[in-house]
Amino acid sequence: MYSYDWSVITRNMDVFIDGALKTLEISALAILIAIPIGIIFGMGRISKNKFFRLISSIYVEIIRGVPLLVLLIWIFFVLGQFLKLGSYWGSIWGLAIFAGAFIAEIVRSGIQAVPKGQMEAARSLGMSHAKAMTYIILPQAFRRVLPPLASQFIMLIKDSSLVSVIAATELTLNAKNLVATSFRSIEVWTFVALIYFIMTFSLSLIIRYFEKRLLKSEA
């Protein structure tokens, strides 16, 4: 039977740490690109301009309809024909385009969740639609959008495990390689699952803390 040897973890701690940092780096860059994408297309989804609305819907629906794995492979091998992206930027852009569609929906519903009366009150005071958006609606949407945006970042950390298929170095790829040379799949994968859990769970605790504070400050 299998005999455990957990020393493989301690001896290769640097591999795990490097991988985890790379995972965070890729996820952070991806969300930084995804947020403007999401804001643009999220506002597009409720824009009065038919064409903009159509484009935004197509983007959101297609991206949300295709598995990330397939999207990453597609971006890397198909888009990669025309743009020289490389593994690193290919994976960041792949994740960003993917997350962007979800953020667009977050932004859209954040705006729509602001009660209708707010827009009516602003308009009744003589504000134009644009002014009402800028000064009244968006500041309120922003507060609503922050928590789901943070959750999206947690999702992204998990989703980034998939970029190992397009050869971008991060925690999962490092783990695969370590398993390939150490043959200690049980120990390595258990520890990798633990690292992901620690990263995402501690982040979600932080988010919950700030959410509570936000709720309190509004009461």
Partner: protein, 242 residues
């Protein structure tokens, strides 16, 4: 001041306003009463074009509100609107609620806007609430901030859609008092309300609506003592007879 001419309005198949006409002279106060679903809210909201109309015309202070050539954002400066549910901006303090539109729409400086805002809030009994957020205010206080916010644009006309219906009973008085004061100062007003005593006291005319039509118009004394129509009699008997 307000002239409503043959207005028709429907939501899809549902005809909500049928051929409504109404003249409201300057400094007059009109109470709009009637059963739920009569179209009171819809009518008052068409006056500042929060609700579009199908046919007809509405003229406020010489401006045709629903004319496509009218810049509605300019026209609305003349028309204050107070909502049943206050609709204060929750992320702004009472004073900021009152000053944001003068600053962003009229382009007043912060100092000027705040000076006027503080005057208005103080005159409405909110002199100690400038920096309070709406969630820290009682319903009555919130509604008074909303009135100050509308007044800050110096409108010629004020519209109120059930301004006290969302309030706890002991807060109704403070809001009605504020409206009373405006009436005394000669503001032209339309008030949708279920406060019959109040309507009787301050209004120049009662307009009774049912099923999208104006069923009866009368002076308050006449209306409450001896309404002409069966529909108004029924309504009054239900509302006054608790």
């Amino acid at each position: 001041m307000i002239s409503i001419k043959n207005v028709n309005k429907s939501f899809g198949d549902h005809h909500v306003l049928t051929d409504v006409s109404l003249e409201i002279p300057k400094s007059n106060v009109v109470a709009l009463i009637g059963p739920s679903g009569a179209g009171k809210s819809t009518l008052i909201r068409t006056i500042n074009a929060l609700e579009p109309i199908n046919t007809g015309e509405i003229i406020v202070d010489g401006v045709s509100i629903h004319d496509k050539k009218t810049d509605i954002n300019v026209a609305r400066l003349n028309i204050g609107f107070v909502f049943q549910s206050f609709n204060l901006f929750p992320f702004l303090t009472a004073l900021e609620n009152v000053t944001i539109s003068p600053m962003k729409v009229k382009g007043l400086s912060k100092e000027v806007a705040e000076k006027r805002g503080k005057e208005l809030l103080t005159s409405l009994g909110l002199g100690d609430k400038f920096d309070s957020y709406p969630s820290r205010l009682s319903g009555g206080q919130q509604q008074r901030v909303a009135i100050a916010r509308a007044l800050a644009m110096d409108p010629q006309v004020m519209l109120f859609d059930e301004p006290t219906s969302a309030l706890d009973p002991e807060m109704v008085t403070e809001v009605l008092d504020a409206i009373r004061k405006l009436a005394k100062d000669g503001m032209t007003m339309v008030v949708v309300t279920h406060e019959m005593g109040f309507a009787k006291e301050i209004c120049d005319e009662i307009v009774f609506m049912a099923e999208g039509k104006i069923v009866e118009r009368a002076a308050p004394d006449k209306f409450f003592s001896n309404p002409d129509t069966k529909r108004a009699q029924d309504f009054l008997s239900k509302v006054l007879n608790h």
